[in-house]
Amino acid sequence: MSELLLICLASPLAAVTAIAFGAPARKSALIAALVSLIGTLVLAINFDPTASGYQFVTETEPLALDSFFNIQFAVGLDGINLPLVLLTSVVGLAAILAVPSRISSEENQAGEGGYFINLLLILFGAMGAFASLDLFYLYIFHEVALIPTFLLMGYWGNGDKRFSATQLALYLMTGSLILLGGIFAFYFSMPEGMQTMDLREMEAVMDGKAQSAVLPLLVVGFGILVSLFPFHSWAPSAYANSPAPVAMLHAGVLKKFGIYGLLRLAVPFLPEGMESWTNVFCVLLLMNVLYVGLVTIHQKKLDFLLGYSSVMHMGYLFLGLFSMKAIGLSGVILLMVGHGLSTALLFGLAGEIRDRAGTLEFSKLGGLATKAPLLSFLFIIGAMASIGLPGLANFSGEILIYFGAWEAGLYWVTAMSVLGIVISAVYMLRAVRSVFYGELSPESGRVNDLVQWKERIPYLILVVGLILVGIYPKLILKWSETLFGA
């Protein structure tokens, strides 16, 4: 069974090689994504929620760097990263299936290979980052996923793509560097003899002072990757200007890396650090929810609105983290999954609309529900998930986060975060109103519905995921029941 995890991880890489040697790009990518998805599903079914520690572990011999850092390639799954690996393969498949018309058009046949190679590399990097048990690899895999993101955005993006790609690269590079510093600080702050890069061997042995010193580096480093206020400026324009599948993968999956990192390192090993910095970061996360929420209300284009909305919801994830309670942390895992699915769904469908109507400006769209009922139906499901409607995955996560934060005594922060349910309803329903309701505009008249099954499937997969997790959150919660010292 443990080889299966390696297969899931390696299959995108195998497809990249195959495409490089001339195999048909789209088919290879599809096969790789399917293999990963089926593999992770089998792993999920065989996962034993009662066992402690990592399962399906595969490791290699330590590298030559052993003497300094004992770096060792090792992958494995537990209740925290299993949902994320699953999310990666689900959204990965959807992203590979949702090919923008610009890529599939006749003139672009030559570029198709490059496009899919980069997409597969993102998938590979994201999988690796979540599955790795060694900090070094965790970090490197994330970098591997970032680079093709820049490339795809720069080549196949829309609008001011060059600028957005530059800004994204600069920002995330800065974040990564700070993070790297944080990881080293984390490593060296552990007592002599206890220093390790291996997640399995780490113990909560750092003294309080060192924790408080290391924590901000980690939170800021990871935070930049997750668009924590005030380091969020890269996100909206990057998502708006990148091809839809890239936004699906980055906003839906890769961005969660930051939260995942904190869940892995800060929560278990730096609890005192978390506590001493709670006030500062609570202010920042409230800015994510309230300030960014307000900025979202003012957006005039659907893609920017979705970008900002995605930034806003990161505030909830931070709230869950800083609650440091089993309930809140379970909520974080659920919301990561829910947000990943719903964001991917919304960005993907927005991409379909842009492809057909040629614009995403609210003033030019309207009445789409008349012309494209299925597309509208799916989008409204995504919108409802995103504003936390029960029955869809996001709600289960959000409500647990509120409960957890309240339990932690963060009353005012929670109360103000809950205001987010009003703010998000305001901007999302305005968007739905302008794009789908009302009279049909000329631009909307150009939008055909998702008529072919191959156009529908990517979004149907995501919708099914949202509903399954929403109705039966135990699917995911049961994996993490034994964690968080409950």
């Binding site: 600069l170 400026s233 003012h298 029960p390 647990l400 205001l419």
Partner: protein, 611 residues
């Protein structure tokens, strides 16, 4: 049994959405069949002595927080279930006729079924989180149904407004739930009751805290039951198809707030101050809406304001329950009025729907007139509903339930009681106005000349609703809800007062409006009422405008301060940016990206060697 009540409508909604959407007739039958199963199930449940439900499905279980999808089986829930499903069933039938030619018929019935499912969920809820879940789902179905004709800008705006205003209420509701959970350690109603009656909370809480908690829960009710100042969405919600107005925005959903208050009364009861607030807001809404109702010309809007007003009565009754000797009489009175109101208000709305249907969507009462001769069944059942709403003594159900509320008010607070009577007087007046202008006098306009009675599928539900509107007062509903403990004390002050306000309003309405072809009353103050006291304008100018200005300011700040100065202004970043742009000018983004990776790797190595 409970599964059998809850799930069929959900199943119907799913089946219609996925499979039978191209077949509107079949879809409507599926929806009706599902509602019928639920209705029969609740009927059986009403007479069975099942103490609590069999439904118990664990949704989540985390340390200190167990959330189930379960069911309450107490009289409160059983009574409410019957009201919801049977009124719902009649409205389903009525919709067959009303929506017969609408191209979106299948979608309509799917959404109606979704609503039934959510509403039944609220009624069955055995814990606060489950209630919140279905609370939100009801909000969704209401949003979808108000915006059913989404091509119309007015409907699109109204649906959005309803959802957002409800969300404001839900914000408080959710905080209230969090407070309850943190204080008493559970969200389950039965456990909460046990904890509270034993007087031990998991955590200490101040009186102020209790008040905030109770008011939080009440905010949920303010949203859903459209109490002042969150009342603004309900009149606009009339943009939805009329059967929807009858079912959701008159008989059931808007009553959910009152139901919730009764359900959590033992928590609210911990804070007398909060109950005071609830009593005053309720009665204030009752009076305020009644004043507005006297000046509306759209038949559905008159009924909408009347709904607001009657809901105010019920809410107030719950609030006043804290100040009387037997608090359960207060909640019983509220539920009693909720039940009778569901019958006669559904009747009135369906009657209005029948008229609107026949007049090709004319809703202005001044363009009607003389309809009683053209549409006798609709007309006379409408008169019955009106009499019930006005509280016609002895022969209508509305009289008894209103009497129960006024009795509570008399004991609790004389001022509130007087306000209650004034509201009743106004109610009698505006309903007389409505009936006389729309149904009597001369026909005004061609549409009226050509009006004809609606088909049987629409008139039979009217008749079936007219019966309980008359006799429900003799069915001992109040005793059923309270468990057989309500004493009828005949107070001549109350009886006399009720009779006077009923007759007074009727006479005044008759005197002013008989045989009039246009509004005879025109003086200054009435202009205010006509414009709903300018609350829509006030909110638009303050809250909406303020929020938009703030959003604009924040967006500007984000773009030019955070996005530009703060980020790109930092020296080091600026330097890198310059280099970067040079690279891009050569079109070498990929070069840059690879250099970046190389740099990172190099850095790792260096750090490694250094250590």
């Amino acid at each position: 049994m409970n599964w059998l009540i809850l799930l069929p409508p959900l199943l119907a909604a799913i089946v219609i959405t996925l499979f039978t959407r191209p077949f509107p007739k079949l879809s409507s039958y599926i929806s009706i069949a599902a509602c019928l199963v639920s209705a029969v199930g609740s009927g059986i449940l009403l007479f069975s002595d099942q103490a609590s439900g069999m439904l118990d499905w664990e949704w989540m279980n985390l340390p200190g927080l167990r959330i189930t999808i379960g069911a309450m089986g107490d009289p409160l829930a059983r009574m409410m279930l019957v009201v919801v499903t049977w009124v719902g069933l009649l409205i389903h039938f009525f919709s067959l006729g009303y929506m017969a030619k609408d191209p979106g018929k299948a979608r309509f019935f799917a959404q109606l079924s979704l609503f039934m499912f959510s509403m039944i969920g609220i009624v069955l809820a055995n814990n606060l989180v489950m209630m919140f879940i279905f609370w939100e789902l009801v909000g969704l179905s209401s949003y979808l149904l108000i915006g059913f004709w989404f091509q119309r800008p007015a409907a699109a705006e109204a649906s959005k407004k309803a959802f957002i205003v409800n969300r404001v209420g839900d914000f408080g509701f959710l905080l209230g739930i969090l407070g309850v959970w943190a204080t008493f350690g559970t969200v389950d109603f039965a456990e909460l009751e046990k904890v509270i009656s034993n007087g031990v909370g998991a955590n200490p809480i101040t009186q102020g805290g209790l008040m905030l908690m109770a008011l939080g829960l009440f905010m949920g009710c303010m949203g859903k039951s459209a109490q002042f100042p969150l009342h603004v969405w309900l009149p606009d919600a009339m943009e939805g198809p009329t059967p929807v107005s009858a079912l959701i925005h008159a008989a059931t959903m808007v009553a959910a707030g009152v139901y919730m208050l009764c359900r959590v009364f033992f928590i609210l009861d911990l804070s007398p101050a909060a109950l005071q607030v609830i009593a005053w807001i309720g009665m204030g809404t009752a009076l305020f809406a009644a004043v507005i109702a006297t000046r509306q010309n759209d038949i559905k809007r008159i009924l909408a304001y009347s709904t607001l007003s009657q809901l105010g009565y019920m809410v107030s009754a719950v609030g006043m329950a804290g100040a009387i000797e037997h608090p359960e009489y207060g909640t019983t009175a509220a539920m009693y009025h909720l039940t009778t109101h569901a019958f006669f208000k559904a009747l009135l709305f369906l009657g209005a729907g029948s008229v609107i249907h026949s007049l090709h969507h004319e809703q202005n009462i001044w363009k009607m007139g003389g309809l009683i001769k053209k549409m006798p069944v609709t007309g006379w059942t409408f008169v019955i509903g009106t009499l019930a709403l006005m509280g016609c003594p002895y022969i209508t159900a509305g009289f008894w339930s209103k009497e129960a509320i006024l009795a509570v008010a008399l004991e609790a607070n004389p001022v509130l009681c007087i306000l209650g009577f004034v509201t009743a007087l106004l109610t009698s007046f505006y309903m007389t106005r409505l009936v006389i202008v729309a149904f009597f006098g001369q026909p005004r306009g061609d549409e009226v000349e050509h009006a004809h009675e609606s088909p049987l599928v629409m008139t039979v539900p009217l008749v079936l609703l007219a019966i309980p509107s008359l006799i429900a007062g003799y069915l001992h509903i109040d005793q059923f809800i309270a468990g057989g403990k309500v004493e009828h004390h005949v107070d001549f002050l109350l009886l006399g007062g009720s009779f006077v306000v009923f007759a007074g309003g009727l006479a005044a309405g008759w005197y002013v409006y008989w045989q009039k072809n246009e509004e005879p009353l025109t003086f200054g103050f009435l202009k205010l009422a006509e414009n709903k006291f300018y609350f829509d304008e006030l909110y638009a100018a303050t809250i909406v405008r303020g929020q938009d200005l703030l959003a604009q300011a924040m967006a500007w700040f984000d773009q030019w301060i955070i996005g530009a100065v703060l980020v790109r202004g930092v020296g080091a970043t600026a330097g890198l940016l310059g280099q970067c742009f040079r690279l891009f000018q050569n079109g070498m983004i990929q070069t840059y990206a690879w250099i970046f990776l190389l740099g990172v790797l190099l850095l790792c190595l260096v750090m490694g060697v250094l250590s």
